[in-house]
Structure formats: C-alpha cells, structure tokens
Symmetry: C2
Subunit: 491 residues, 2 copies
Amino acid sequence: MADATPIRPIPAEQVTEWAYEADVVVAGFGVAGASAAVGAAQAGADVLVLERTGGWGGAAAMAGGFIYMGGGTPLQKACGFEDTVDNMKAFMKAALGPGTDEAKIDAYCDGSVDHYHWLVDECGVPFKMSFWGEPGWEPPGDDGLQYSGGENAAPFNATIPPAPRGHVPQMSDKQSGGEKGGGYMLMKPLTDKAAELGVRAEYDMRVQALIVDTDGRVVGIQAKQYGKDVAVRARKGVVLATGSFAYNDTMLESYAPKLVGRPAASIEEHDGRAIRMAQALGADLAHMDAAEVAFFCDPQLFIRGILVNGRGQRYINEDTYPGRVGQATLYENENQSYLIIDEAAYEEGLTRPTATEQLRHQPKWVGETVEELEAEMGLPAGALQSTVDVYNRHAENGEDPLFGKKPEWVKPIGSPVAAIDLRGMTGGFTLGGLRTNVDSEVLHVSGEPIPGLFAAGRCTSGVCAGGYASGTSLGDGSFFGRRAGISAAKA
Amino acid sequence: MADATPIRPIPAEQVTEWAYEADVVVAGFGVAGASAAVGAAQAGADVLVLERTGGWGGAAAMAGGFIYMGGGTPLQKACGFEDTVDNMKAFMKAALGPGTDEAKIDAYCDGSVDHYHWLVDECGVPFKMSFWGEPGWEPPGDDGLQYSGGENAAPFNATIPPAPRGHVPQMSDKQSGGEKGGGYMLMKPLTDKAAELGVRAEYDMRVQALIVDTDGRVVGIQAKQYGKDVAVRARKGVVLATGSFAYNDTMLESYAPKLVGRPAASIEEHDGRAIRMAQALGADLAHMDAAEVAFFCDPQLFIRGILVNGRGQRYINEDTYPGRVGQATLYENENQSYLIIDEAAYEEGLTRPTATEQLRHQPKWVGETVEELEAEMGLPAGALQSTVDVYNRHAENGEDPLFGKKPEWVKPIGSPVAAIDLRGMTGGFTLGGLRTNVDSEVLHVSGEPIPGLFAAGRCTSGVCAGGYASGTSLGDGSFFGRRAGISAAKA
C-alpha cells in the first residue's frame, strides 16, 4: 500500500503556511465527527471540521439510525421497559466480546441516560415514544425503540434481564415513502447544533498525515483540498473520526480477510487512512478482525423457519438479532445458509410488516417432504431430514433444546416445505481500529496517550470487540465522539 | 500496558556509550534468529545475537521439529512422493488463508528445495529418509516425513495432488526415551553453524527499544542485561526474531481474545515486545487474530470415531490435520467437542503407535446405544442419535458425503459406544505480527520498508494468515530468518 502522498507524520517546522486554524480540528463529519464538534464547541473551543465529501453525514446519515442506549432512558420508561445500568453492562460484555474493553463499556453504560438527554435536550434529536416488537432489522415505521442485539433471546435472556436498547430517531420522511432512515434525523440535528455553536466546516478535505511538533505532540493535520496540499493547525487537539476501513482492500486482506469483497452499511470514503496516519505515530490498534455482519434476509421470514448451514445442520436460534446470524454464517459456517420453511409459515411471514421488503427472497427449492427437498438441494440423504426430525420432535412441545429459540417461534415444520438459498448473503463493515481510552485519547503502543490526538467512531475499536448490536456504532461514535471533542477542547 | 521501560524509539544521538556493536544485530536465538545469524554471517557480516534467556533454542528447540518444505525435496523423493512447487503453492494458499500473503508463499515454495539443501548440506540438519503414514501429531519414532497439514484429506485432496511436507530432523535421543523432539536437532546444528561462522551471542539480554538516527533508520537496539541498560549498535541492520505474543495477555485481549488463558507450544518469553517496539516506529501489522490451535487428543483415537460439537453435530472430517480440528473447535464450535467412538474402534486405536500417549483420554460416558449415551451426556433427545444415524447410513457404503473423510477411516459406529469429553481441549500460539516483505524487511504503514529493520519468525505474519500446518512456523522462521540475515548483511 505505497501511497502517492506520504502518510508519515510531518514535522511542524516544515509547515510554511497554515491554511486553516482552530482550537480543535475534527477529521470527518459523520456521527463521531459531528458529536466531537458539538462536544468541543460546548466546552468553549473554536472548532473546524474537515470533511472529505461535499457535505456532512458520513455513513451515519444513510444508516437506519439505531443508537444503543439504556439503563433506563425516558424512551425505555415510556414504553414500559425496566432497564438498569448493570444489566446493560452485563449484556454488552457478554454479547460484544470476547475481549471487550470493560472500562469503555462501563463508561458508556454509566453515561447512557445522560447521553440520551444530551442528544434529545441539547441537540434536538427526536424520538417517538413507541416500541416496535416484531422481528426485523429495523422498525418499518417510525417507532423509536426496538430490541437490536438479541437481548431477549438465547443465550442472553436466560441470565440477563432483557431490555430493548435500540433507539431510532423519528424520521417522518421514511413513513411517507422517503428513502432516508433514522440516521438522517440523528445527523441533521447534530450538525444543525454544530452550526449553531459556530462550528466551521471545510469540504473536499482529504486528510493525509498528522503534523507533529518536536515533542511528538499532534498540532495539526495535512490535507488535500481541491487537489492542493493544505496544512491545518490545531491549537488544542485533532480528533480523527473518518470511519472504518471497510473499503480498503489491502487492509481487509491483512486484518479482516473474510470481509474482502463484501463491504456493506458503509461508504467508500471508509478507506482507513486515519488509522494509518495514527499508526505511523506509533498508535496501537485493537480487534482489527472484528466486523459487523449483516444477513441479507428478512427476519420476518427466517424466524418462522430454521436456518441450516451447507451441511443441513442448524447453527443458531433464529429469533436472535439478525447480525448474530450474519456473524455465525460468515465466520462459523463458511458463509453458507439455507432457510427451511413450510408454506404456511412463509405465507404468514409475508403478511407481516417489514422495513426490508427487498430481503424477502423467493424459495429456490420446494418439496412435499423434507426428503424430497434435501434431494433437490443436493444435500446428502438424511442430512436435512434428520435436522428437521430433531427440530420437529421438540417443537411439538414448543421447545428448542438445542438453541433455545423462544416457544412463541417454535412450531413443527410442515408440508409443503421450501428452501431459500442464502449462501453468501452477508456483508458488513469493520469494527477494529485505533485503541483509545475512555476519554477518547489515542493510545500509543506504550500505553500512554499520544498528546493532542483523539479519535472516535469506526476508525477506533469501540464497545464491540467481536460481537455486535445495532446501535453500537452510532452509539459509541456519538458517545465517545462527544468525549473526544471535550477532551480535545481541554487539552 | 504502560511499561516501566520506554518502548519508544531512542534517538541515536542520546546514546552515550555503545556496549556492543556488530554489522547485524539479531534479537532472539530461536529458529528465526539462528537462521538470520547464519544467513548474515554467510553473507560476510559480523553478527551478534541478543538472547533473553541463558541459552539458544527458543520455542523451536522444544518443538516437535516439523519444517514445512516441498516441491520435490530429496526426502520427499526418497520416500517415493512426487511434489511440485505449484502444488505446494496451491495447497498453502488454500489451507493457510484466507488472506495469505501470496508473494511470500510464492517465494517460500520457489525456494523450498534450496532451503532443504541449506539446512542439510550447509547447516548439517539430519533427516532420516523414512515416512510416517499413520495418524498422529508427529511421528512416534524418528521418521523424517509426515503429512502435517491435511494435504491428503478433504477438502484439499479433491483438487490439489497431495504430498507430505512435514520434515522432522532426526532426534535419536527421542527414540531412546529422551524428552527432546526434532526441534532440538534443528536448533543444535543451526547454532553450531552460527558459532562456526563466528557469530557472537550475548545472553540475559532483554530488548527494550529500537535506536534510530535522525533519518529514521534503525541503527541499534536498547536492551537490559543483568538489569542494566545497554545500547547495542548495528552497523547494517537489526533483525527482530523474538517470537509470538502468546504470553502477553494485554495483546491477546486486544488482538486474539479467544486465546487468552490457553497459550501452548510456546514459551513465556513470547511477550510481543519486539512487535511493540516496531509498532512504535510505525510498523504495520497483519493477521493479529490468527493462531495455531492444538487439539489435545490423540489422532489415533479420534480418526476412528466422530467428533461432535456441544450440540451433538459433526463439524469436521476427522482424518484431517489435527490443527484444523483445533481451529474448528475453538473458533467455530465454542471450544466444545466430544469424541464418539465404539469400543472396538477405541481399543484398536490404543494398539496403534503414537507420539502423544498422554492425549489418550478415557471415555467419560458409555452406553449400549447412542440413545443411552446421549441421555447420559445430557444432550437433547435425538441430537446425537440423528448424527450417528446419518453417519452410519453412509458409512455402510464407506462414504462420508458430509465431510469427505476418506473411505479407509469410515466405518459405522457400533455398540457399546462411548464419549470422550474434549471440551476446552485446545491451546496454541499467535501467528500474527509485523508485516514484512519477501526480503524480510519490516514494512511501515506507508508500505515502504523501515530502513535498517528486519524481522522473521512468529513476531511477524508469515505464510499463515488464518489456517495452519505443522512446520510452517519453523519453516517460515528459518526461511525468512535466513533472508532477514542476508538482507541485513547487504543493507
């Protein structure tokens, strides 16, 4: 990955002209960058955001909009759910690991209700006080709350009292057939708030390298604007918030090879450049192999059948968070999956509301019996049949002893029966990146913070080490983005 | 991970006294370090090795001793096996990925026969010209050649003509009941050769940081010797060869969390320090999540039964390389495994020779029928029964359509039948590390080599990206170690 433009830190004494200057300079105007800008401005700093594209938004503005919050938010309470900070911590540590940063999750959960108030009361992010309880990647309407991590499913519901924590900003445009999701109604208020606070923004700014003084302190950032090199001085600190490396194939090959060729829920600006720039200063990394993995099938369908791998074996409880299905499919089952579903269940699924109509795939194979179906699918004789037999045997009693699917979703598979081909139906974005502390300082491999350098969002390793829940990216991006801005303003 | 001793690069102008000096300074006297020392000395350099312990050897001297070589080595030919460089490349790229460094594998395979001659003819590594063809982690006697990566098993044998490539140095001591494996007879000749070439070694040398000149070139290394700080000058280059990070829990938590608490085939000196030292200079990393995973059961037993996961499902062809079983168990099956085996097969297995007698576990549960057995094991009714039914149904015809186990190992499971508890029976060492090129130069995140810095062995990402074959660590450690020495001598 030799670069045309050097990625190595540039000594400040070599800078002949500072094109721009601010107390806090933020690279990237997605959720982490906007939150950093607001946080820094609220802390009294003069803030400049450098954005590569022609406008604010990043991947966040195009996202469904989940923000993972809990511990008893007003929205949770309004919808009748009890949640505690401890339960939220326990769930996140269990579901987002192994290897989670416990201090980060503790800070995130301890501050979650406050974060809700900051988003709503200070920034104006709107939530409709209603709950969506059906299976789905996101609410089909404008409901504000949904389970988004498998909290109410096995294996977590057996030991940790569940609560829904996926908070979705209300986006009336979506209801009326518009294309924007809740992420827009997170980003619009945040960037409006930034503007109101006097945050400046420069666009078409491609960050290239960090500028450091003789003590190794980060004092600015070198960028290309309209093809020209410009140096930007940061009197107090630089915040990196440029997103994941899902679109950098070289980095994917080295760090997360199973994601090569399947970036999703991401934007092509996510090229990992800021990670590289900080690595060049000795910044540490974490969990570079971790990824969010979407599973491209409508949960209203697959919860009503069974998912089997390329050998006809079940591999997960179908009522869990669909992102867990995606990870299990890609990482543990060679990216092979089939949905086995009988006609009645399929038809029923089609009658239910969904936000992902395009993921309602047609059956590829059908049979009067499972034996017939497995032969059509080319599976070895008995492979699928035995799976369905064991499932049905226990489903007669409403039980799923193998995976713990909840009784309400356990029903024997009848006839006629079909298989939907879901092989290769995954994609996602990277969760690994710069190692930061709870104040969003970027950590050197020595363990010490790099002076003047802060980061948040998907160019960092956040609350997710291996697992994922919808809302943790906009969640830790906004939470630790705000902290990055505050820390930089105080630096 | 704040360190008592700084890990940041030390400016050369701050060094007041050089305690030692050489053309090429090698950190670590395991297989990569010894090979680098010999390579550099043969290229005419004055070489000094810094070793942390009191003697040469590293993890290599305690290893079984496999060196992965092929493409038609004299040992392969003497045992009647045909192999080609192309088949070796194809296998390694298929089995050691995803995300393998293709240029590295190409260089490794193209140079493999030459590497054999260097080890044997120049360094005096002895191989007995005989093949061990039975299942096992390593030959029970002193045979020189064995399949060590699953080349002759599914899925690879269907498309890539197999050849055994695990070359084990002859260790007569082992035959007579001694404790040393073939790795000792790799390290003894290599270090003897190094001594013969005038290579010097200093012991109790704990490397701490790299020393760099004003241009960023590595010109030395700072170490602690008997508790005192000493600076070592490298006139031409520094070679890092200090092994994996399997014993650094902080790094494991951040990069390979599933290996926390289960280091194996590794030594506690493997603390990742050299990786950190180079990261502090902006060195790039690769595949930090990858690991060799041993499966602690004798293959003579498990090849004669079926391995099932915590849900009673088969998950791998039992005749493949046991390290593949280990990875599949730990990464894809929640570290849960049971061996289901009938009495006759178990007894037969016990009569066969093995090098790992201590891995011949006793059955934990027994039954006259599988139904009885699964109840005793606490598995859901039908879960194991259906697995055995499907297996036996095809085994009657000598077939294993689900996993492709070879006919010679496929036999219906009879009665009485037992289960051996293999849950949690895995352990291993890390395969990720510094990103290097085919000349063993350490690459900066810019993609350019860091001047004066070379590395090899398990502190680098070598030929393995995700998969593993026995012999690839001593293999790429010696191959790219030698290259590191030669490159440094020429620098």
